[in-house]
């Protein structure tokens, strides 16, 4: 095994490489999600771009930042601050971002602010009409 950096041991080097790969995946997903957010035609289609931008673009790279900062031993004690904060932020995002986007989509459909424009059928609206009658 050839060490790329002689000041790290084998576990720190593996964690550093996995963290760098996850960070690169995160930046790629950020750019893809932002392009989709501009170019998609409809709000309900843009939810998909938002998912790419949050889960792929924030949760994976925050786990990557956790691993990367645990490997960098020149940071001293600060690396434990960064690793704990990044891990807690990733857990908070993965729990709250789907809830927020689902609530937003439900409110947009029920309050009729966004027209469901290219559609074949809308079972949710038909169910609401049945409940009203």
């Amino acid at each position: 095994m050839v060490f790329l950096f002689p000041e790290l041991n084998i576990f720190e080097e593996i964690a550093l490489i996995i963290g760098i790969i996850l960070t690169l995946i995160g930046v790629f997903c950020d750019v893809i999600g932002s392009i989709g957010m501009v170019r998609f035609p409809n709000f309900f289609v843009r939810l998909h771009a938002a998912t790419v931008g949050t889960i792929g673009g924030a949760v994976y790279p925050l786990f990557g930042v956790t691993l990367m900062s645990l490997a960098l031993n020149y940071l001293g004690v600060i690396r434990y601050f960064i690793a704990t904060g990044a891990f807690l932020t990733a857990i908070a995002i993965v729990l709250t971002a789907p809830v927020g986007s689902h609530a937003l989509a439900r409110a947009a459909h029920r309050s009729k602010t966004v027209p469901v424009e290219p559609k074949v059928c809308d079972f949710l609206r038909e169910d609401e009409r049945l409940i009203e009658e």
């Binding site: 950096f5 000041e7 790290l8 760098i20 960070t23 995160g26 930046v27 950020d30 750019v31 999600g33 932002s34 392009i35 957010m37 501009v38 709000f43 843009r46 939810l47 938002a50 931008g53 949050t54 673009g57 924030a58 790279p61 925050l62 930042v65 990367m68 900062s69 960098l72 020149y74 940071l75 600060i78 434990y80 601050f81 960064i82 704990t84 904060g85 990044a86 807690l88 932020t89 908070a92 995002i93 709250t96 971002a97 809830v99 927020g100 986007s101 609530a103 937003l104 989509a105 439900r106 409110a107 947009a108 029920r110 309050s111 602010t113 966004v114």
Partner: protein, 94 residues
């Protein structure tokens, strides 16, 4: 190339991608047709900023930036839920 200069070069080389993605999200924030589009784009900007703060805390060696990132992530969730509640019931509630 030492480890510290490699990590600094890696993080600085990633910053133009953040510039591109944040400006594309800002287009959708400004010209979004409905209020939910704007809120969705603001969410994406906020979660993107959390990731950027994680990288900057490694670059500048400041540990307390991640506390601000945690507060930002929870603030975006609160914005989502309040806007959804207002659109659905026309009141924010207690």
């Amino acid at each position: 190339m030492t480890l510290e200069s490699f990590i600094s070069t890696f993080i600085v080389a990633l910053l133009p991608a953040f510039l591109i993605s944040l400006s594309l999200y800002a287009i959708r924030v400004i010209k979004g047709p409905s209020i939910t589009d704007m809120v969705l784009a603001i969410d994406c900007v906020t979660y993107d900023l959390c990731f950027l703060m994680g990288l900057l805390s490694i670059l500048f060696k400041i540990g307390f930036l991640m506390v601000a990132a945690l507060a930002l992530a929870l603030w975006a969730y609160v914005l989502d839920v309040y806007v959804a509640k207002y659109l659905e019931a026309r009141e924010v509630g207690d």
